[in-house]
Subunit: 161 residues, 2 copies
DNA sequence: CACTAACAGTTAGTGGACTAATGATTAATG
DNA sequence: CATTAATCATTAGTCCACTAACTGTTAGTG
């Protein structure tokens, strides 16, 4: 009695096994990791006049413009109600244009302006800059990306239920 | 000529190599995974009257109440300015109490009410319910958790720069 | 002791993200 | 063909999350 076992405090044992312990929550780790990594983008994106969600929209448009709000919603896994004001801000910044599709007046055709297209050049430096700031192995990042992709699939996209 | 190679479209090759491709962004996968998983919590937490960030605060308090705003900020990696209104909502819901610390009048002592403590029983069912909804291997989730922890460390917590 | 620094928390302002409800257009159906 | 249903986008309302500026308290320094 009074051996090494007594050195292990009950509170520590509880933390390790407790399913309600903060450190054991994958959802918490996901939220913190997401905010932390997005935080790395902030100083890089701010000079470009972009927030991170706006940057993602620009990525989608640089790849496949023109896109409708519905298209962007599906690609970015965001609600149209989230995109609507965001796109207005991008339009106010002069990076995109929003007009109704002639084929279907319900649909909005989001296109890039010359300024919006030109911004791509600056953006091309971003991924390498972020990876350097992170200081992580590219292979490890790829592994993480795959794990995240599986979680997204398991959770059913961004769709609840 | 006209063999299998011609079946590979240039647009696909571009997507694979393009550092600005949406699908290649770890930050995008992180954001979508975070929102997707948190979305799974919504139907479970709503009957308890909690949002996901509020749930995380309750986890911290169930573990180590009383805590100051500063403590919660450090534990949850959230700005005090984010927590301040959130804590007021939890107080309005009758789950916590906020009073100034007698030892240091600057500090706020956040404690649980009886109702707040009682809510833990319902919460104990949540982790298993979420894992079941996700339908993922526990070992894989642990691996993901470790990978996320490394990213958080690499990004320097939630701190920008 | 007075004066300045540092610290803890709050407020104000911007922007994201969701749900629910609305308006407008197109598609489907009796 | 007229009515109904489905679709696309927007608005309103709530809550998170951040930065910057502010209040009040404590600690440090001349």
């Amino acid at each position: 009695m009074g051996g090494l076992l007594t050195e292990v405090r009950m509170s520590d044992i509880g933390d390790i096994a407790d399913p309600l312990s903060l450190e054991n929550q994958v959802c918490f780790a996901l939220a913190v990791a997401s905010r932390s990594v997005i935080g790395l983008y902030r100083p890089v994106l701010e000079p470009m006049g972009l927030t991170h969600p706006q940057y993602l929209v620009m990525l989608a448009l640089w790849q496949r413009a023109p896109l409708s709000v519905k298209d962007l919603s599906r690609l970015l896994q965001l609600e149209p109600a989230t995109l609507s004001p965001l796109l207005k801000r991008l339009e106010a910044a002069g990076l995109i244009e929003r007009r109704r599709s002639r084929a279907d007046e319900r649909s909005l055709a989001v296109t890039l302006t010359g300024e919006g297209r030109a911004l791509r050049e600056q953006a091309e430096k971003i991924p390498a800059a972020i990876v350097e700031r992170l200081g992580m192995d590219v292979a490890e990042l790829q592994g993480l990306h795959q794990a995240l992709t599986r979680v997204i699939a398991a959770a059913g996209g961004a769709r609840p239920g």
